[in-house]
């Protein structure tokens, strides 16, 4: 039984933040859930997909976040409580629709969950999508612990129905992927087909009829709609004045007032406890961070001259509190604000209790308690000598290692300074040594093909480098298709290599439009990438990256052909895919007599360059060995070894 449906009301469970969000949505009776995978958000949809049939939900992994938000909005329009879930960059993808959606509003409760990654632990950026709430004028909430992650999610649906607009709930890695005690509420009851009124989209009213008219943004309607949206925001502000999710602990006249939100609240609490400052420093935790409730803030701002704003991400709260203080007028008095913008906290990267403690010490003129100096120095030295650097790398048996080996080798033989534009997935690691530093650009989903489409048109300017792009199979459907259409139509000279590993591997192997299952494992038709390309009149070749020699030859031939878009699909399932996991294809062995090691002339090609974690270089014996615990038996290293010392034997 799933962790999000099993506990009864009043029971305490240990829930990961993302499971708490999923449970909160279930307790609120969510019906429609859609989004696109992205760390640290993916578990929410994954968990709900697992209980979709028993709970009567519609849950989908959408082609991209914009479509996900649209599917969820359709739910709201059809009177079904709905939720869209994505990571911070997904909100950028969804943002065009988001602007229009929040202008015309929603019907049944609708929540947008954005799970963000301060410090970029599993991201290529520190995007902070809270700014959308301000820019597009809709309410934003941020849970401060695991209980709140559940309770606020459930409350967001009610709030959304009161306002008739979308509510955004923002989480961060240290909330989504952290776990804590949660007292459960009533689990969701299956409403589908059990006497509840059927889902229906009403559209007979006029354009301004929020619940019964067409849901249309239209030039002549902009001003009245925008005014109505601002009225909703004003109502939210009023509700937030008394929200139980805004809490204060500390003295009535604090020497310093901390204003904080999200996981930063836990850091602030810990730092105050470490420094014994609970009686001196006030701690105002805001659960509702846009719009800010002015009367609540005024009461606290009046009590202290020094204000320390502690938050994960960009100085969003920091700026907004300052603006509010200016708006509140001269009776607030002079203040000194501290935060990420003026030193006490670093301007970038995620926070932790130590950084907060250091900031507190700086502001209050105290010495932050530091760990034992001699110990730290000794431990630091031993870490340098005893903990060799552990770089990110492709898994043992990963097809991307073989694909990049082929691409890299073909480009070298081609010898015209060709390069590859990268994209987003595990294969982004093609930019680092495990992918032989093959990628020379990497930005947003689909951007590799878009950039290649541009580079591929610069021949009239004397540009003569061969241009390639890579795309994963899920990324192909998410954002590569429009770029590819652009490249074909404009006759760009480029090769797209689709590294098709049969799933959205990086985020935990979710299905996508090219796979045969839905989010919950039910059967769906798969779209064929090769046929889609053929319908665009593209020449397509399908090859196996594990057949290194033959596939390299194909790529060299494609490089020789001048002009237009060529697509090479390298098809081999992810080593962690359900079909492969735990199943060994080959037993690998090294013939110690045949391995000439440093006398070979190969310069330790297998361990030094190919660098699969399943190989061990034994510096004493001066031989390569197979690590039985790590090797998954893909067989690829056998084709790397020039002396044939690595052998593969098919597992019976």
């Amino acid at each position: 039984m799933s962790i999000v449906t099993c506990g009864a009301k009043g029971e305490t469970a240990l829930l990961m933040g993302n499971d708490a969000i999923a449970r909160g949505a279930l307790e609120a009776g969510v019906r429609v859930v859609a989004g696109y995978p992205g760390t640290p958000s993916s578990e929410i949809i994954q968990t709900l997909a697992g209980v979709a049939s028993e709970q009567g939900l519609y849950v989908e992994w959408s082609a991209n976040e914009k479509v996900g938000l649209e599917v969820a909005a359709a739910g709201s329009f059809a009177q079904l409580r709905s939720m869209a879930v994505m990571k911070q960059v997904g909100v950028n993808v969804a943002s065009d629709f988001l602007l229009h959606l929040t202008e015309c509003g929603t019907r049944a409760g609708m929540v947008l969950v954005s799970c963000e990654d301060p410090g970029g632990l599993s991201s290529t950026n520190e995007g902070d999508s809270r700014h959308y709430a301000k820019m597009m004028e809709f309410p934003l909430v941020e849970p401060g612990d695991f209980q709140e992650a559940k309770d606020m999610t459930a409350w967001c649906f009610e709030l959304s129905e009161k306002l008739r607009n979308l509510v955004m709930l923002r989480s961060v890695t240290r909330m989504s992927h952290a776990s804590g005690n949660v007292v459960l509420g009533e689990p969701g009851s299956n409403l589908m087909g059990s006497g509840s009124s059927p889902a229906r989209f009403q559209f007979d009213g006029d354009f301004m009829d929020q619940m019964g008219g067409p849901v249309v943004t239209f030039p002549g309607m902009v001003d009245p709609m925008h005014r109505r949206q601002l009225e909703k925001l004003a109502l939210a502000r009023e509700i937030f004045e008394t929200s139980p999710f805004n809490t204060y602990t500390g003295p009535g006249d604090p020497e310093l007032l901390i204003i904080t939100s999200s996981a930063a609240w836990l850091y602030a609490r810990e730092a105050l406890s470490l420094m014994g400052l609970e009686e001196q420093v006030g701690l105002l935790k805001l659960g509702t961070t846009w719009p800010l409730p002015p009367r609540l803030l005024a009461g606290h701002l009046q009590a202290s001259e020094k204000i320390f704003i502690i938050e994960e991400g960009t100085p969003f709260l920091e700026d907004n509190v300052k603006v509010l203080w200016a708006e509140l007028g001269p009776e607030m008095g002079t203040k000194r604000f501290f935060g990420r913008k003026n030193g006490p906290l670093p301007p970038t990267n995620e926070l932790n209790p130590d950084l907060v403690a250091r900031g507190l010490a700086e502001i209050l003129g105290l010495t932050a308690s530091a760990p034992d100096q001699t110990y730290s120095e000794r431990a630091g030295k031993l870490a340098e000598s005893h903990a060799p650097f552990r770089a990110m790398t492709f898994c043992p048996g990963c097809p991307h290692r073989a694909s990049y080996w082929i691409i890299n080798s073909a480009l070298k033989q081609d010898n015209r300074d060709g390069f590859v534009c990268g994209d987003i997935g595990c294969y982004t690691m093609g930019a680092i040594s495990c992918g032989f530093n093959t990628l020379k650009t990497s930005h947003a989903m689909g951007s590799g093909t878009g950039l290649a489409s541009g580079f591929g048109k610069f021949n009239p300017f004397g540009f003569d480098q061969p241009v390639m792009a890579v795309s994963g199979d899920s990324t192909f459907f998410h954002a590569v298709m429009p770029a590819l259409v652009n490249a074909v139509h404009n006759q760009a000279d480029m090769i797209l290599v689709v590294v098709d590993n049969s799933g959205t591997a990086m985020t935990g192997f979710q299905p996508h439009p090219g796979t045969l299952t839905d989010a919950g494992g039910g059967a769906l038709p798969a779209l064929d990438i090769a046929r889609i390309c053929e319908a665009m009149d593209i020449q397509v070749v399908i090859a196996d990256p594990f057949e290194m020699g033959a596939t390299e030859k194909i790529l060299l031939d494609l490089l020789d052909e001048a002009g237009g878009v060529r697509v090479l699909i390298l098809r081999q399932a992810c080593a962690l895919s359900p079909e492969k996991k735990g199943k060994r294809l080959f037993d690998m062995a090294v013939d110690e007599a045949a391995c000439l090691a440093e006398d070979c002339g190969c310069n330790r090609l297998c361990t030094r360059i190919f660098g699969c974690p399943g190989l061990i270089w034994d510096p004493e014996a001066k031989k390569t060995r197979i690590d039985e615990v790590i090797c998954v038996g893909c067989g690829v290293c056998a084709s790397i070894c020039p002396t044939g010392a690595i052998s593969k034997k098919e597992v019976a």
Binding site: T39, R269, L274, P388, A391, F394, I616
Partner: protein
């Protein structure tokens, strides 16, 4: 019902290793065992991209009082469970202190820097000497080797939990383990996990 007092509150436990060694499962399992006894548990974890061959770390805060930060403050770990030996040093550099205790699995997973020959992996003796220098007590444990004998190297994490149940004052006894593992695992996998826990529990002594 209130949870029994702990030697430290919060008690700070770090489980470290390399992606794929079952770090997350070990932390969730212990978290579950302790929540069932009315402790407040906060677990901080990194997984996602960082998992791909990289170091992983779970921070467990165990308290009779409340939730704590999902990141332990520097220098404040009480116990480190290292499923990969060299990772211990990375953890101690940030969270260690002279009173910390360490249980470490002896089986290395070589990082790419070692496979390529750019870096050298420390010998078992060097690791042991280093840990003697940096900890109050440390216990080596051939967890992966034993797990392989039991049929699957992944069981190393459960063996380590079993060892911890003997070494630490945390209430992680066999009954509570069995209850949690039955909730978390399909029935077919329960016996081998019980066997692994029990082996780990018997493998070390506090003395």
């Amino acid at each position: 019902m209130t949870a029994p007092q702990l030697p430290f509150d919060p008690y700070n436990l770090i489980i470290t290793g390399v992606g794929g060694q079952g770090n997350v499962l070990a932390s969730r399992l212990m978290g579950r065992m302790l929540v069932a006894q009315d402790y407040h548990i906060t677990i901080g974890e990194t997984f996602g991209a960082s998992q791909r061959g990289g170091s992983v770390m779970s921070h467990l805060r165990i308290s009779t009082q409340s939730a704590w930060s999902p990141q332990i403050p520097r220098g404040r770990a009480h116990m480190v469970i290292a499923i990969e030996p060299s990772e211990t040093f990375r953890v101690l550099a940030a969270y260690g202190n002279p009173e910390v205790q360490v249980i470490w699995n002896t089986r290395p997973i070589h990082p790419i820097s070692v496979i390529t020959g750019q870096a050298v992996y420390p010998s078992r003796e060097e690791i042991s000497r280093g840990l003697t220098e940096l900890s109050a007590r440390h216990w080596p444990l051939d967890a992966t080797d034993q797990a392989q004998i039991m049929g699957n190297p992944i069981l190393g994490n459960i063996i380590m939990v079993g060892a911890l149940s003997t070494i630490s004052e945390l209430p992680l006894g066999p009954d509570i383990f069995e209850k949690a593992i039955r909730e978390m695992m399909p029935p077919a996998k329960v016996p081998v996990n019980l066997e692994a826990f029990s082996w780990g529990r018997g493998a070390l002594t506090v003395k």
